[in-house]
């Protein structure tokens, strides 16, 4: 199973602000070293792509809850 530490580090930091979001902002990403694909998925709130890139699904769910149908 693919894990991106960089992605999960960003998502953990946002989750700890107890904020749910539709997409992440440039400010959310400041100071993090991530790939262009990861950046695109985070800033567009693409939950499927985030999963494929190795983001933890619990973190995806916690932050991008509004993106899920259920």
């Amino acid at each position: 199973m693919k894990t991106s530490y960089a992605l999960n580090k960003v998502l953990t930091a946002v989750a700890r602000q107890h904020a749910m979001k539709d997409r992440l902002s440039e400010a959310d990403l400041a100071g993090h070293t991530i790939t262009a694909d990861e950046r695109a998925a985070l800033t567009s709130g693409d939950i499927t792509k985030l999963y494929e890139l190795g983001a933890n699904p619990y973190l995806i769910r916690r932050i991008f809850r509004s993106r899920f149908k259920v």
Binding site: Y51, P57, R61
Partner: protein, 277 residues
């Protein structure tokens, strides 16, 4: 000698209490009835300690430091915290911990081949709060939680989790004190959380799991690989590690399913199981 007087398995999901209205009323009522019957049986055994096999959801343990098995040494646990109380619609409360017993377990583990991690500060989520809302309404019994990594792969094998529970059971029975211990494991059964299949429930797999536990025929469950569980039970199904750990502590005991409801609105195959000799 301490005695294991009760054992129970339940699912946990924040929506079970947070959004009761969205589930079909008959499903909600049957599941809640299962919880209430579990509570009645548990209370009748008069436990003075709860040992809980649970898991974190990336709530506290970060990817910079991820324990396979972690013993809680907190003086008390938020179940739920004031912050998550609104989401789960359960009043915030603190449950007393059992840090001295936790320390004794850690030391016994280091002597006996289980190098548990430990934590003095745990930010719990639904894994304690939702089941204990039903099972421990007065909140008077101290809780010793043992966290197993079910959410951030690679995960300990099913067989290793079962062996860990076996070690905990032997440790408890060898205690010179005379506690009456209840074991509770929470999590599962099938559910997909945050993945592209979010909302899926696999009732066939859930029944397969419950049937084997009902017969105390655990070998097929202990052989399950991470990938098989992910395919058939989802990432949430990985939480059956907690159930297998508990069952390791009570060899030969069988699980009687008091309720099983696949509740799509709560995105979880929900069960309550009483485990007995």
């Amino acid at each position: 000698m301490a005695e294991i007087v009760a054992a129970a398995l339940t699912s946990h999901a924040p929506l079970m209490t947070g959004r009761p209205d969205v589930a079909k009323p008959e499903q909600r009522q049957r599941l809640y009835a299962g919880f209430h019957e579990l509570q009645r049986r548990l209370a009748a055994t008069r436990p003075d300690l709860l040992v809980m096999f649970v898991n974190d959801h990336l709530q506290n343990f970060p990817y910079s430091n991820m324990p396979a098995f972690c013993v809680g040494l907190c003086d008390d646990y938020d179940a739920p915290s004031p912050g998550s109380s609104a989401f789960m619609k359960i009043p915030a409360r603190k449950l007393p911990g059992a840090p001295a017993l936790g320390m004794a377990l850690l030391e016994a583990g280091l002597e006996g081949g289980f190098d548990f991690a430990y934590s003095y500060e745990i930010d719990s989520w639904d894994e304690l709060a939702v089941p204990l809302h039903f099972l421990l309404p007065d909140g008077a019994v101290p809780v010793l939680p043992i966290y197993t990594n079910c959410a951030a792969p690679p995960l300990p094998t099913a067989r290793r989790c079962h062996a860990m529970g076996g070690f905990v059971g032997e440790f408890l029975r060898a205690r010179p004190s005379h506690e009456r211990v209840a074991l509770i494991a929470t999590g599962g059964i099938s559910h997909w959380v945050g993945t592209p299949q979010t909302g899926r429930i696999n009732t066939d797999w859930d029944h397969w799991v419950l049937d084997h536990i009902g017969r105390a025929d655990l070998e097929p469950l202990l052989r399950l690989t991470h990938d098989e569980i992910e395919r058939d039970g989802g990432n949430g199904g990985q939480e059956i590690r907690n159930w297998l750990a508990l069952l390791g502590a009570v060899p030969g005991w069988k699980g009687e399913a008091l309720a099983y409801e696949p509740v799509p609105e709560w995105i979880t195959g929900c069960a309550t199981v009483w485990v007995h000799a």
